[in-house]
Protein backbone atom coordinates (compact mmCIF):
# COMPACT_ATOMS: atom_id res chain seq x y z
CA UNK A 1 0.00 0.00 0.00
CA UNK A 2 1.69 3.08 -1.22
CA UNK A 3 0.99 6.77 -1.53
CA UNK A 4 -0.72 6.02 -4.82
CA UNK A 5 -3.24 3.83 -3.05
CA UNK A 6 -4.25 6.51 -0.56
CA UNK A 7 -4.43 9.17 -3.24
CA UNK A 8 -6.94 7.21 -5.31
CA UNK A 9 -8.71 5.88 -2.19
CA UNK A 10 -9.48 9.33 -0.81
CA UNK A 11 -11.05 10.32 -4.12
CA UNK A 12 -13.31 7.26 -4.04
CA UNK A 13 -16.62 8.38 -2.42
CA UNK A 14 -17.63 4.85 -1.39
CA UNK A 15 -14.31 4.26 0.31
CA UNK A 16 -14.48 7.62 2.03
CA UNK A 17 -17.99 6.96 3.37
CA UNK A 18 -17.06 3.47 4.58
CA UNK A 19 -13.80 4.69 6.06
CA UNK A 20 -15.52 7.48 8.01
CA UNK A 21 -18.30 5.21 9.28
CA UNK A 22 -15.95 2.42 10.33
CA UNK A 23 -13.34 4.81 11.67
CA UNK A 24 -15.89 6.80 13.68
CA UNK A 25 -17.55 3.73 15.15
CA UNK A 26 -14.21 2.12 15.99
CA UNK A 27 -12.87 5.27 17.61
CA UNK A 28 -16.01 5.64 19.73
CA UNK A 29 -15.79 2.02 20.83
CA UNK A 30 -12.10 2.19 21.65
CA UNK A 31 -12.56 5.38 23.67
CA UNK A 32 -15.77 4.15 25.37
CA UNK A 33 -14.37 3.94 28.93
CA UNK A 34 -13.29 7.60 28.75
CA UNK A 35 -16.11 9.22 26.76
CA UNK A 36 -19.11 7.29 28.11
CA UNK A 37 -20.98 9.69 30.46
CA UNK A 38 -22.16 6.89 32.82
CA UNK A 39 -21.15 3.44 33.96
CA UNK A 40 -22.93 1.15 31.45
CA UNK A 41 -24.13 -1.22 34.18
CA UNK A 42 -24.97 1.34 36.89
CA UNK A 43 -28.66 1.19 37.85
CA UNK A 44 -30.59 4.38 38.59
CA UNK A 45 -34.09 3.86 40.00
CA UNK A 46 -34.81 7.57 39.79
CA UNK A 47 -34.51 7.63 36.01
CA UNK A 48 -36.28 4.59 34.53
CA UNK A 49 -37.17 4.65 30.84
CA UNK A 50 -36.23 8.28 30.41
CA UNK A 51 -36.64 9.48 26.83
CA UNK A 52 -33.61 11.07 25.16
CA UNK A 53 -32.90 14.38 26.82
CA UNK A 54 -30.27 16.62 28.31
CA UNK A 55 -29.26 14.35 31.21
CA UNK A 56 -29.26 11.16 29.16
CA UNK A 57 -28.63 11.98 25.50
CA UNK A 58 -30.14 8.73 24.23
CA UNK A 59 -32.40 8.05 27.20
CA UNK A 60 -32.32 5.27 29.77
CA UNK A 61 -33.61 1.69 29.86
CA UNK A 62 -36.03 -0.10 32.18
CA UNK A 63 -33.33 -0.34 34.87
CA UNK A 64 -32.30 3.29 34.56
CA UNK A 65 -29.01 2.55 32.72
CA UNK A 66 -27.76 5.17 30.28
CA UNK A 67 -28.38 3.99 26.67
CA UNK A 68 -25.53 6.02 25.15
CA UNK A 69 -23.00 4.56 27.58
CA UNK A 70 -24.30 1.06 26.96
CA UNK A 71 -24.09 1.55 23.22
CA UNK A 72 -20.51 2.80 23.38
CA UNK A 73 -19.52 -0.22 25.43
CA UNK A 74 -21.62 -2.51 23.24
CA UNK A 75 -19.62 -1.21 20.27
CA UNK A 76 -16.52 -2.70 21.87
CA UNK A 77 -18.14 -6.11 21.74
CA UNK A 78 -18.95 -5.70 18.07
CA UNK A 79 -15.44 -4.52 17.31
CA UNK A 80 -13.84 -7.41 19.18
CA UNK A 81 -16.08 -10.01 17.64
CA UNK A 82 -15.61 -8.53 14.19
CA UNK A 83 -11.84 -8.43 14.31
CA UNK A 84 -11.05 -11.58 16.27
CA UNK A 85 -13.62 -13.83 14.62
CA UNK A 86 -12.54 -12.68 11.18
CA UNK A 87 -8.89 -12.83 12.18
CA UNK A 88 -9.38 -16.46 13.13
CA UNK A 89 -11.34 -17.18 9.96
CA UNK A 90 -8.63 -15.56 7.81
CA UNK A 91 -5.85 -17.45 9.59
CA UNK A 92 -7.57 -20.81 9.15
CA UNK A 93 -8.68 -20.02 5.60
CA UNK A 94 -5.23 -18.81 4.59
CA UNK A 95 -3.54 -21.90 5.93
CA UNK A 96 -5.88 -24.38 4.24
CA UNK A 97 -6.10 -22.33 1.04
CA UNK A 98 -2.33 -22.05 0.67
CA UNK A 99 -1.76 -25.73 1.39
CA UNK A 100 -4.55 -26.88 -0.94
CA UNK A 101 -3.56 -24.57 -3.77
CA UNK A 102 0.20 -25.01 -3.56
CA UNK A 103 0.60 -28.70 -2.83
CA UNK A 104 -2.50 -29.89 -4.70
CA UNK A 105 -3.15 -33.59 -5.01
CA UNK A 106 -4.51 -35.40 -1.99
CA UNK A 107 -4.13 -32.41 0.38
CA UNK A 108 -6.18 -30.27 -2.00
CA UNK A 109 -8.83 -32.95 -2.38
CA UNK A 110 -9.20 -33.51 1.37
CA UNK A 111 -9.26 -29.82 2.28
CA UNK A 112 -11.67 -28.75 -0.43
CA UNK A 113 -14.08 -31.61 0.32
CA UNK A 114 -13.87 -30.51 3.96
CA UNK A 115 -14.83 -27.01 2.84
CA UNK A 116 -17.76 -28.44 0.88
CA UNK A 117 -18.97 -30.33 3.96
CA UNK A 118 -18.68 -27.22 6.15
CA UNK A 119 -20.63 -25.22 3.59
CA UNK A 120 -23.43 -27.80 3.62
CA UNK A 121 -24.55 -26.74 7.09
CA UNK A 122 -26.55 -23.55 7.37
CA UNK A 123 -23.89 -21.82 9.46
CA UNK A 124 -26.24 -19.90 11.75
CA UNK A 125 -27.95 -23.11 12.88
CA UNK A 126 -24.59 -24.77 13.27
CA UNK A 127 -23.55 -21.91 15.56
CA UNK A 128 -26.82 -22.19 17.51
CA UNK A 129 -26.27 -25.90 18.01
CA UNK A 130 -22.71 -25.46 19.23
CA UNK A 131 -23.69 -22.58 21.53
CA UNK A 132 -26.36 -24.81 23.07
CA UNK A 133 -23.58 -27.07 24.34
CA UNK A 134 -21.10 -24.38 25.32
CA UNK A 135 -21.27 -21.53 27.71
CA UNK A 136 -22.24 -18.48 25.62
CA UNK A 137 -19.24 -16.31 26.50
CA UNK A 138 -17.70 -13.63 24.30
CA UNK A 139 -14.63 -15.78 23.63
CA UNK A 140 -16.70 -18.81 22.63
CA UNK A 141 -18.81 -16.72 20.29
CA UNK A 142 -15.77 -15.31 18.56
CA UNK A 143 -14.20 -18.74 18.14
CA UNK A 144 -17.38 -20.30 16.83
CA UNK A 145 -18.06 -17.51 14.36
CA UNK A 146 -14.44 -17.72 13.23
CA UNK A 147 -14.51 -21.48 12.78
CA UNK A 148 -17.69 -21.40 10.72
CA UNK A 149 -16.68 -18.63 8.34
CA UNK A 150 -13.22 -19.54 7.03
CA UNK A 151 -14.40 -21.52 4.01
CA UNK A 152 -14.81 -18.55 1.70
CA UNK A 153 -11.29 -17.36 2.48
CA UNK A 154 -9.92 -20.86 1.91
CA UNK A 155 -11.52 -21.10 -1.54
CA UNK A 156 -10.36 -17.63 -2.47
CA UNK A 157 -6.79 -18.22 -1.34
CA UNK A 158 -6.66 -21.60 -3.06
CA UNK A 159 -7.72 -20.05 -6.36
CA UNK A 160 -5.18 -17.23 -6.01
CA UNK A 161 -2.46 -19.70 -5.07
CA UNK A 162 -3.23 -21.96 -8.02
CA UNK A 163 -2.75 -19.10 -10.45
CA UNK A 164 0.24 -17.52 -8.67
CA UNK A 165 2.14 -20.80 -8.33
CA UNK A 166 2.29 -21.07 -12.12
CA UNK A 167 3.58 -17.56 -12.66
CA UNK A 168 7.11 -17.12 -13.93
CA UNK A 169 8.33 -15.26 -10.85
CA UNK A 170 7.44 -18.24 -8.67
CA UNK A 171 9.19 -20.61 -11.09
CA UNK A 172 12.24 -18.33 -11.05
CA UNK A 173 12.22 -18.42 -7.28
CA UNK A 174 12.08 -22.22 -7.33
CA UNK A 175 15.02 -22.30 -9.73
CA UNK A 176 16.88 -19.98 -7.35
CA UNK A 177 16.64 -22.72 -4.74
CA UNK A 178 13.82 -21.26 -2.65
CA UNK A 179 11.88 -23.82 -0.62
CA UNK A 180 8.10 -24.11 -0.42
CA UNK A 181 7.88 -22.09 2.80
CA UNK A 182 9.82 -19.22 1.30
CA UNK A 183 7.76 -19.22 -1.89
CA UNK A 184 4.49 -19.32 0.03
CA UNK A 185 5.41 -16.58 2.50
CA UNK A 186 7.44 -14.26 0.31
CA UNK A 187 5.72 -14.55 -3.05
CA UNK A 188 2.28 -16.07 -2.88
CA UNK A 189 1.01 -14.59 0.38
CA UNK A 190 1.86 -10.93 -0.42
CA UNK A 191 0.38 -11.24 -3.90
CA UNK A 192 -2.82 -12.85 -2.60
CA UNK A 193 -3.23 -10.30 0.20
CA UNK A 194 -5.48 -7.88 -1.71
CA UNK A 195 -8.46 -10.16 -2.30
CA UNK A 196 -8.10 -11.59 1.22
CA UNK A 197 -8.27 -8.09 2.70
CA UNK A 198 -11.47 -7.43 0.75
CA UNK A 199 -13.09 -10.63 1.90
CA UNK A 200 -11.97 -10.03 5.50
CA UNK A 201 -13.53 -6.56 5.50
CA UNK A 202 -16.81 -7.95 4.19
CA UNK A 203 -16.47 -10.79 6.70
CA UNK A 204 -16.33 -8.37 9.62
CA UNK A 205 -19.76 -7.04 8.66
CA UNK A 206 -21.09 -10.60 8.63
CA UNK A 207 -19.51 -11.45 11.98
CA UNK A 208 -20.96 -8.35 13.66
CA UNK A 209 -24.39 -9.22 12.29
CA UNK A 210 -24.08 -12.82 13.50
CA UNK A 211 -23.06 -11.71 16.99
CA UNK A 212 -25.98 -9.28 17.15
CA UNK A 213 -28.39 -11.99 16.03
CA UNK A 214 -27.07 -14.42 18.64
CA UNK A 215 -27.26 -11.83 21.38
CA UNK A 216 -30.77 -10.88 20.29
CA UNK A 217 -31.78 -14.50 20.71
CA UNK A 218 -30.20 -14.48 24.17
CA UNK A 219 -27.48 -16.90 23.07
CA UNK A 220 -24.71 -14.38 22.66
CA UNK A 221 -23.25 -11.84 25.01
CA UNK A 222 -24.94 -12.26 28.38
CA UNK A 223 -26.38 -9.45 30.48
CA UNK A 224 -25.37 -7.30 32.25
CA UNK A 225 -22.56 -6.87 29.69
CA UNK A 226 -24.04 -4.69 26.95
CA UNK A 227 -23.98 -5.58 23.27
CA UNK A 228 -26.09 -4.08 20.50
CA UNK A 229 -27.83 -7.41 20.04
CA UNK A 230 -28.91 -7.89 23.66
CA UNK A 231 -29.90 -4.21 23.90
CA UNK A 232 -32.33 -4.86 21.04
CA UNK A 233 -33.63 -7.88 22.95
CA UNK A 234 -34.22 -5.81 26.10
CA UNK A 235 -35.78 -2.99 24.09
CA UNK A 236 -38.21 -5.36 22.38
CA UNK A 237 -40.27 -5.71 25.59
CA UNK A 238 -40.97 -1.99 25.81
CA UNK A 239 -40.89 -1.13 22.10
CA UNK A 240 -44.20 0.76 22.23
CA UNK A 241 -43.44 2.94 25.24
CA UNK A 242 -39.65 3.37 24.83
CA UNK A 243 -38.70 2.92 21.14
CA UNK A 244 -35.29 4.62 21.70
CA UNK A 245 -34.07 1.47 23.40
CA UNK A 246 -34.33 -0.41 20.12
CA UNK A 247 -33.88 2.30 17.52
CA UNK A 248 -30.37 3.44 18.51
CA UNK A 249 -28.68 0.02 18.79
CA UNK A 250 -30.45 -0.97 15.56
CA UNK A 251 -29.07 2.09 13.78
CA UNK A 252 -25.61 1.38 15.19
CA UNK A 253 -25.68 -2.14 13.74
CA UNK A 254 -27.01 -0.84 10.43
CA UNK A 255 -24.34 1.83 10.01
CA UNK A 256 -21.44 -0.31 11.16
CA UNK A 257 -22.36 -3.16 8.81
CA UNK A 258 -22.96 -0.66 6.02
CA UNK A 259 -19.59 0.94 6.73
CA UNK A 260 -17.69 -2.34 6.47
CA UNK A 261 -19.56 -3.34 3.34
CA UNK A 262 -18.79 -0.01 1.66
CA UNK A 263 -15.16 -0.32 2.70
CA UNK A 264 -14.91 -3.88 1.39
CA UNK A 265 -16.58 -3.13 -1.92
CA UNK A 266 -14.45 -0.05 -2.54
CA UNK A 267 -11.26 -1.95 -1.61
CA UNK A 268 -12.24 -4.52 -4.20
CA UNK A 269 -12.23 -1.75 -6.81
CA UNK A 270 -9.12 -0.04 -5.54
CA UNK A 271 -6.99 -3.18 -5.24
CA UNK A 272 -8.03 -4.65 -8.58
CA UNK A 273 -4.90 -4.48 -10.75
CA UNK A 274 -6.98 -4.61 -13.91
CA UNK A 275 -8.57 -1.29 -13.02
CA UNK A 276 -5.32 0.29 -11.90
CA UNK A 277 -3.69 0.69 -15.28
Amino acid sequence: MTDGFWRSALRHPMFLAGFLLVGGMSLAAVLAPWIAPFDPTALNVDALLQPPGAAHLLGTDALGRDVLSRMLHGGRVSLWVGFLAVGLAVAVGLFFGLVAGYFGGLADEVIMRGVDVMLCFPSFFLILTVIAFLEPSLANIMIIIGLTSWMGVARLVRAETLSLARRDFVLASRLAGAGSARILLRHILPNAAGPVLVSATLGIAGAILTESSLSFLGLGVQPPMPSWGNMLLEGKEVLEIAPWLSVFPGLAILFTVLGYNLLGESLRDLLDPRLKQ
Binding site: D168, A178, R186, H187
Partner: protein
Amino acid sequence: MSACLEFRDVRKTYFVRRGAFSRAVPVHAVAGVDLAVAHGETVGLVGESGCGKSTLARMAVRLDAPTSGQVLMDGMDLWRTEEVTDRLPELVQMVFQDPFSSLDPRMTVAQSVGEALDARKVGDKASRRARVAELLDMVGLSPEHAGRYPHQFSGGQRQRAAIARALALNPRLVVCDEPVSALDVSIQAQVINIFQDLKERLGLTYLFISHDLAVVSHLSDRVAVMYAGRLVELAPAAALYDAPLHPYTRMLLAAIPVPDPAVRQERGAAPEARESAGEGACPLVPRCPLAGPDCAQEPPMREAAPGHLVRCHRA
Protein backbone atom coordinates in the same frame (compact mmCIF):
# COMPACT_ATOMS: atom_id res chain seq x y z
CA MET B 1 34.66 -34.26 -21.21
CA SER B 2 30.91 -34.61 -20.87
CA ALA B 3 28.63 -31.98 -22.23
CA CYS B 4 27.30 -29.13 -20.11
CA LEU B 5 23.76 -30.10 -21.00
CA GLU B 6 22.63 -33.13 -22.89
CA PHE B 7 19.23 -34.41 -23.98
CA ARG B 8 19.13 -38.12 -24.72
CA ASP B 9 16.07 -39.23 -26.68
CA VAL B 10 13.94 -36.94 -24.50
CA ARG B 11 10.19 -37.21 -24.90
CA LYS B 12 7.39 -35.36 -23.20
CA THR B 13 3.81 -36.45 -23.72
CA TYR B 14 0.81 -34.62 -22.36
CA PHE B 15 -2.66 -36.06 -22.25
CA VAL B 16 -5.21 -33.57 -23.43
CA ARG B 17 -8.95 -33.97 -23.12
CA ARG B 18 -10.92 -32.25 -25.86
CA GLY B 19 -14.35 -31.83 -24.28
CA ALA B 20 -15.68 -33.28 -21.07
CA PHE B 21 -16.57 -36.76 -22.26
CA SER B 22 -13.92 -37.55 -24.82
CA ARG B 23 -10.93 -39.67 -24.00
CA ALA B 24 -7.59 -38.04 -23.24
CA VAL B 25 -5.51 -37.81 -26.39
CA PRO B 26 -1.71 -37.97 -26.14
CA VAL B 27 0.07 -34.87 -27.43
CA HIS B 28 3.75 -35.37 -28.07
CA ALA B 29 5.18 -31.97 -27.14
CA VAL B 30 8.71 -33.29 -27.41
CA ALA B 31 9.07 -36.44 -29.48
CA GLY B 32 12.61 -37.72 -29.09
CA VAL B 33 15.25 -34.97 -28.95
CA ASP B 34 18.99 -35.66 -28.89
CA LEU B 35 21.06 -32.57 -28.32
CA ALA B 36 24.30 -31.81 -26.52
CA VAL B 37 25.46 -28.35 -25.50
CA ALA B 38 29.20 -28.11 -24.84
CA HIS B 39 30.69 -25.94 -22.11
CA GLY B 40 30.99 -22.35 -23.27
CA GLU B 41 28.88 -22.96 -26.34
CA THR B 42 25.70 -21.14 -27.31
CA VAL B 43 23.11 -23.28 -28.98
CA GLY B 44 20.17 -21.51 -30.50
CA LEU B 45 16.87 -23.34 -30.65
CA VAL B 46 14.35 -22.07 -33.16
CA GLY B 47 10.92 -23.17 -34.24
CA GLU B 48 7.36 -21.92 -34.40
CA SER B 49 4.99 -21.58 -31.47
CA GLY B 50 3.94 -24.94 -30.11
CA CYS B 51 6.87 -26.90 -31.54
CA GLY B 52 8.07 -27.92 -28.07
CA LYS B 53 10.86 -25.38 -27.51
CA SER B 54 9.58 -24.17 -24.18
CA THR B 55 8.84 -27.68 -22.96
CA LEU B 56 12.44 -28.58 -23.76
CA ALA B 57 13.62 -25.50 -21.84
CA ARG B 58 11.54 -26.41 -18.80
CA MET B 59 13.00 -29.91 -18.83
CA ALA B 60 16.53 -28.49 -19.04
CA VAL B 61 16.02 -26.66 -15.73
CA ARG B 62 14.10 -29.50 -14.07
CA LEU B 63 10.74 -27.73 -13.93
CA ASP B 64 9.25 -30.63 -15.90
CA ALA B 65 10.24 -34.28 -15.91
CA PRO B 66 10.65 -35.99 -19.27
CA THR B 67 8.15 -38.77 -20.01
CA SER B 68 11.09 -40.84 -21.22
CA GLY B 69 14.75 -40.29 -22.02
CA GLN B 70 17.35 -38.48 -19.97
CA VAL B 71 18.40 -34.90 -19.32
CA LEU B 72 22.02 -34.81 -18.22
CA MET B 73 24.09 -32.06 -16.76
CA ASP B 74 27.83 -32.79 -16.73
CA GLY B 75 26.85 -36.36 -17.47
CA MET B 76 24.61 -36.58 -14.40
CA ASP B 77 20.91 -37.33 -14.78
CA LEU B 78 18.82 -34.41 -13.49
CA TRP B 79 16.19 -36.74 -12.09
CA ARG B 80 18.34 -39.56 -10.76
CA THR B 81 21.45 -37.96 -9.29
CA GLU B 82 21.03 -36.25 -5.95
CA GLU B 83 24.36 -34.53 -6.30
CA VAL B 84 23.15 -32.55 -9.28
CA THR B 85 19.68 -31.73 -7.92
CA ASP B 86 21.16 -30.27 -4.74
CA ARG B 87 23.49 -28.02 -6.69
CA LEU B 88 21.03 -27.22 -9.47
CA PRO B 89 20.61 -23.49 -8.66
CA GLU B 90 24.38 -23.08 -9.01
CA LEU B 91 24.43 -25.03 -12.27
CA VAL B 92 21.57 -23.68 -14.31
CA GLN B 93 19.28 -20.67 -14.29
CA MET B 94 16.61 -19.44 -16.65
CA VAL B 95 15.58 -16.15 -18.19
CA PHE B 96 11.89 -16.10 -19.00
CA GLN B 97 10.08 -14.60 -21.95
CA ASP B 98 7.83 -12.08 -20.27
CA PRO B 99 9.64 -9.68 -17.93
CA PHE B 100 6.24 -8.44 -16.77
CA SER B 101 5.43 -11.74 -15.10
CA SER B 102 8.89 -13.02 -14.22
CA LEU B 103 9.53 -10.43 -11.49
CA ASP B 104 7.44 -10.43 -8.32
CA PRO B 105 5.45 -7.16 -8.41
CA ARG B 106 5.70 -6.87 -4.62
CA MET B 107 9.47 -7.18 -4.39
CA THR B 108 12.08 -4.57 -5.11
CA VAL B 109 14.55 -5.34 -7.85
CA ALA B 110 17.29 -5.82 -5.25
CA GLN B 111 15.13 -8.35 -3.40
CA SER B 112 14.39 -10.27 -6.60
CA VAL B 113 18.00 -10.26 -7.75
CA GLY B 114 19.27 -11.22 -4.31
CA GLU B 115 16.68 -13.87 -3.61
CA ALA B 116 18.85 -16.77 -4.70
CA LEU B 117 21.65 -15.51 -2.41
CA ASP B 118 19.21 -15.33 0.51
CA ALA B 119 17.65 -18.70 -0.23
CA ARG B 120 21.04 -20.42 -0.56
CA LYS B 121 22.45 -18.47 2.42
CA VAL B 122 25.46 -17.20 0.49
CA GLY B 123 27.76 -15.03 2.61
CA ASP B 124 26.52 -12.39 5.05
CA LYS B 125 24.12 -9.52 4.52
CA ALA B 126 26.76 -7.00 3.49
CA SER B 127 28.41 -9.29 0.96
CA ARG B 128 25.02 -10.16 -0.52
CA ARG B 129 24.23 -6.48 -0.94
CA ALA B 130 27.57 -5.92 -2.62
CA ARG B 131 26.92 -8.86 -4.92
CA VAL B 132 23.49 -7.47 -5.90
CA ALA B 133 25.08 -4.11 -6.71
CA GLU B 134 27.70 -5.87 -8.81
CA LEU B 135 25.02 -7.85 -10.68
CA LEU B 136 22.95 -4.74 -11.39
CA ASP B 137 26.06 -3.04 -12.73
CA MET B 138 26.81 -6.04 -14.97
CA VAL B 139 23.46 -5.72 -16.75
CA GLY B 140 23.64 -1.95 -16.98
CA LEU B 141 21.26 -0.97 -14.20
CA SER B 142 22.36 1.81 -11.87
CA PRO B 143 22.55 1.45 -8.07
CA GLU B 144 19.53 3.68 -7.47
CA HIS B 145 17.40 1.17 -9.37
CA ALA B 146 17.92 -1.38 -6.59
CA GLY B 147 15.12 -0.16 -4.33
CA ARG B 148 12.52 0.24 -7.07
CA TYR B 149 9.63 -2.05 -7.89
CA PRO B 150 9.10 -3.72 -11.27
CA HIS B 151 6.17 -1.48 -12.22
CA GLN B 152 8.53 1.50 -12.17
CA PHE B 153 10.62 -0.07 -14.94
CA SER B 154 10.37 -0.43 -18.70
CA GLY B 155 10.28 -3.87 -20.28
CA GLY B 156 13.97 -3.70 -21.20
CA GLN B 157 14.98 -2.71 -17.67
CA ARG B 158 12.90 -5.51 -16.21
CA GLN B 159 14.53 -8.02 -18.51
CA ARG B 160 17.95 -6.71 -17.41
CA ALA B 161 16.91 -7.28 -13.80
CA ALA B 162 15.74 -10.79 -14.68
CA ILE B 163 19.13 -11.50 -16.28
CA ALA B 164 20.91 -10.18 -13.17
CA ARG B 165 18.77 -12.48 -11.04
CA ALA B 166 19.68 -15.49 -13.20
CA LEU B 167 23.39 -14.75 -12.74
CA ALA B 168 23.31 -14.31 -8.95
CA LEU B 169 24.69 -17.76 -8.16
CA ASN B 170 27.21 -17.81 -11.00
CA PRO B 171 25.55 -20.58 -13.00
CA ARG B 172 27.46 -21.99 -15.93
CA LEU B 173 24.38 -22.62 -18.03
CA VAL B 174 21.63 -20.10 -18.65
CA VAL B 175 18.51 -21.26 -20.44
CA CYS B 176 16.90 -18.32 -22.19
CA ASP B 177 13.29 -18.92 -23.21
CA GLU B 178 12.50 -16.29 -25.83
CA PRO B 179 14.13 -13.59 -23.70
CA VAL B 180 13.72 -10.78 -26.21
CA SER B 181 10.51 -11.58 -28.03
CA ALA B 182 8.37 -9.59 -25.57
CA LEU B 183 10.53 -6.49 -26.02
CA ASP B 184 10.38 -3.62 -28.49
CA VAL B 185 12.65 -4.13 -31.46
CA SER B 186 14.80 -1.17 -30.44
CA ILE B 187 15.36 -2.74 -27.01
CA GLN B 188 15.94 -6.26 -28.36
CA ALA B 189 19.36 -5.37 -29.74
CA GLN B 190 20.48 -3.89 -26.41
CA VAL B 191 19.43 -6.96 -24.48
CA ILE B 192 21.05 -9.28 -27.01
CA ASN B 193 24.27 -7.31 -26.62
CA ILE B 194 24.06 -7.84 -22.86
CA PHE B 195 23.78 -11.58 -23.40
CA GLN B 196 26.77 -11.44 -25.76
CA ASP B 197 28.82 -9.35 -23.36
CA LEU B 198 28.07 -11.57 -20.36
CA LYS B 199 28.91 -14.69 -22.31
CA GLU B 200 32.36 -13.34 -23.11
CA ARG B 201 32.98 -11.98 -19.62
CA LEU B 202 31.71 -14.94 -17.62
CA GLY B 203 32.24 -17.80 -20.06
CA LEU B 204 28.55 -18.69 -19.94
CA THR B 205 26.86 -21.47 -21.81
CA TYR B 206 23.49 -20.61 -23.33
CA LEU B 207 20.58 -22.59 -24.58
CA PHE B 208 18.93 -19.72 -26.39
CA ILE B 209 15.38 -20.23 -27.53
CA SER B 210 13.54 -18.07 -30.01
CA HIS B 211 11.06 -18.21 -32.83
CA ASP B 212 13.11 -15.60 -34.62
CA LEU B 213 16.10 -16.87 -36.61
CA ALA B 214 17.55 -13.37 -36.95
CA VAL B 215 17.76 -12.98 -33.18
CA VAL B 216 19.39 -16.38 -32.73
CA SER B 217 21.88 -15.89 -35.55
CA HIS B 218 23.64 -13.10 -33.73
CA LEU B 219 24.46 -15.12 -30.63
CA SER B 220 24.68 -18.77 -31.48
CA ASP B 221 27.56 -21.05 -32.29
CA ARG B 222 25.19 -23.77 -33.44
CA VAL B 223 21.51 -23.60 -34.26
CA ALA B 224 18.97 -26.37 -33.82
CA VAL B 225 15.70 -26.16 -35.73
CA MET B 226 12.72 -27.79 -34.11
CA TYR B 227 9.48 -28.83 -35.70
CA ALA B 228 6.59 -30.74 -34.12
CA GLY B 229 8.65 -31.87 -31.15
CA ARG B 230 11.69 -33.08 -33.13
CA LEU B 231 14.95 -31.55 -34.21
CA VAL B 232 14.92 -31.36 -37.99
CA GLU B 233 18.26 -29.65 -38.54
CA LEU B 234 21.31 -28.93 -36.42
CA ALA B 235 24.29 -27.06 -37.81
CA PRO B 236 26.89 -24.39 -37.10
CA ALA B 237 25.13 -21.02 -37.33
CA ALA B 238 26.94 -19.90 -40.49
CA ALA B 239 26.29 -23.16 -42.32
CA LEU B 240 22.63 -23.08 -41.42
CA TYR B 241 22.18 -19.61 -42.83
CA ASP B 242 24.30 -20.05 -45.92
CA ALA B 243 23.23 -23.55 -46.84
CA PRO B 244 20.01 -24.58 -45.10
CA LEU B 245 19.15 -28.15 -46.00
CA HIS B 246 15.80 -28.89 -44.44
CA PRO B 247 12.77 -27.49 -46.27
CA TYR B 248 11.39 -26.22 -42.95
CA THR B 249 14.58 -24.30 -42.19
CA ARG B 250 14.31 -22.73 -45.65
CA MET B 251 10.75 -21.66 -44.89
CA LEU B 252 11.89 -20.04 -41.65
CA LEU B 253 14.77 -18.23 -43.34
CA ALA B 254 12.48 -17.02 -46.11
CA ALA B 255 10.17 -15.59 -43.48
CA ILE B 256 12.84 -13.23 -42.10
CA PRO B 257 11.78 -9.75 -43.24
CA VAL B 258 14.37 -8.04 -45.40
CA PRO B 259 14.61 -4.33 -44.63
CA ASP B 260 15.09 -3.38 -48.28
CA PRO B 261 12.16 -2.81 -50.63
CA ALA B 262 14.40 -3.53 -53.64
CA VAL B 263 14.93 -7.06 -52.46
CA ARG B 264 11.54 -8.54 -53.09
CA GLN B 265 12.42 -12.09 -52.61
CA GLU B 266 10.20 -14.99 -53.37
CA ARG B 267 8.65 -15.69 -50.02
CA GLY B 268 8.37 -19.37 -49.33
CA ALA B 269 4.95 -18.97 -47.84
CA ALA B 270 4.59 -21.67 -45.23
CA PRO B 271 1.16 -23.15 -45.74
CA GLU B 272 -0.91 -23.29 -42.58
CA ALA B 273 -1.59 -26.97 -42.22
CA ARG B 274 -3.38 -28.38 -39.23
CA GLU B 275 -4.12 -31.85 -40.58
CA SER B 276 -1.90 -34.58 -39.27
CA ALA B 277 0.76 -36.13 -41.43
CA GLY B 278 -0.20 -39.64 -40.42
CA GLU B 279 1.47 -42.17 -38.17
CA GLY B 280 5.20 -42.52 -38.74
CA ALA B 281 5.34 -39.95 -41.51
CA CYS B 282 7.46 -36.82 -41.55
CA PRO B 283 5.26 -34.27 -39.74
CA LEU B 284 6.09 -31.58 -42.28
CA VAL B 285 4.44 -33.47 -45.17
CA PRO B 286 1.21 -31.42 -45.26
CA ARG B 287 3.11 -28.16 -45.75
CA CYS B 288 6.30 -29.32 -47.45
CA PRO B 289 6.93 -28.31 -51.08
CA LEU B 290 9.25 -31.28 -51.60
CA ALA B 291 7.10 -34.01 -50.07
CA GLY B 292 7.02 -37.29 -51.93
CA PRO B 293 5.77 -40.82 -51.32
CA ASP B 294 8.91 -41.81 -49.38
CA CYS B 295 8.10 -39.11 -46.79
CA ALA B 296 5.42 -41.41 -45.37
CA GLN B 297 8.36 -42.90 -43.51
CA GLU B 298 10.10 -40.31 -41.30
CA PRO B 299 13.87 -40.41 -41.85
CA PRO B 300 16.42 -40.45 -39.01
CA MET B 301 18.91 -37.62 -38.47
CA ARG B 302 21.85 -37.98 -40.81
CA GLU B 303 25.08 -36.05 -41.15
CA ALA B 304 24.82 -34.28 -44.52
CA ALA B 305 28.09 -32.40 -44.05
CA PRO B 306 30.58 -32.44 -41.15
CA GLY B 307 28.71 -31.20 -38.10
CA HIS B 308 25.59 -30.54 -40.14
CA LEU B 309 22.72 -32.85 -39.21
CA VAL B 310 19.42 -32.97 -41.04
CA ARG B 311 16.28 -35.10 -40.90
CA CYS B 312 14.98 -35.17 -44.47
CA HIS B 313 15.01 -37.56 -47.45
CA ARG B 314 15.24 -34.73 -49.93
CA ALA B 315 17.90 -32.54 -48.39
